[in-house]
Amino acid sequence: MCTGIVEKAEVKGSGKGPNGWFKLEEVNVSYDHPTDAPLEHALNIDFVNGKMAPGARVAVELSPESARKLVDAILAALIRGEDL
């Protein structure tokens, strides 16, 4: 099914797409059909810059379990780094 579940956040940073690095403005996180991952639904993360063409996108499609591991890893790294 198409869930239409999308969460968005403004982000600052850079992403590397097919044409090299570009400035990121937004991350779109959806739980919906993936394009490539062999899953019925995936946790899809798109780092984009809305001022650029649709190809300015860094995309990942993760299983829900993988997405939770990613969340844990991000939080762990942040905690260690911000404690320095």
Partner: protein, 256 residues
Amino acid sequence: MHRYTTDMYEGMLAETTTVQGFNGDIINAYFARPLGPGPFPGVVVIHHMPGWDELYREMTRKFAHHGYLAFSPNIYYRFGHGSPDDVAAKVRASGGVADDSVLGDTEGSLRFLKSLPQSNKKFGVFGTCSSGRQAFLAACRLKAFDAAVDCWGGGVVMSKEELTPKRPVAPIDYTKDLSCPLLGLFGEEDQNPTPQHVHLLEEELKKYGKTYEFHMYPKAGHGFFYYDRPSYRQEPAVDGWKKLFGFFEKYLRIYS
């Protein structure tokens, strides 16, 4: 269905083109047609949420192969250009494409098909997933089709909380306006539409005395035609295509 004999001539022309769609915008489209004078029925092939992609190019050619003038408008045209999945990701992030926009593009596509000298003046509309919903919506609101096929269209039944400015009315609320026979193909394991959603739509169709044909396949979920996804189910897919072409032959083909 296409009845092959080994001595028959067959030819097809398939190419991208442009058409005037919603709001008078010139959008691009994919047009596949059998060669020969016809007359041929026409089908507007509305692409699904994952985009105006290779699968929909193949489906458009499949209709042409079976003797239909098949026209697939790029309903994501206004979101820019890039690979189909990049454009689809942009559309997904912006909450999808507006119903009125899709209807305008569908109407423009129909107008184009009507203008063709090889048309038999019978027209169908087809869609899967989000575009199954849009095919149903077009059959209700445009009142210009002779047959419609909704394959597992989710969001035909919508709660008030699910309505948005882009999708302001649940399509089921337009059922009384359905102006042509409807074929629905669904999977029992689908979560949207669930069998309960399909049942609600069926009740509405009965209530208004509409002509419809629904098939609910066991051991199938959403998107069982998509051979490139885990949702593919061979038996329902093969049977579904047979049912689909049987339906279009019945309502769109004119035999002299």
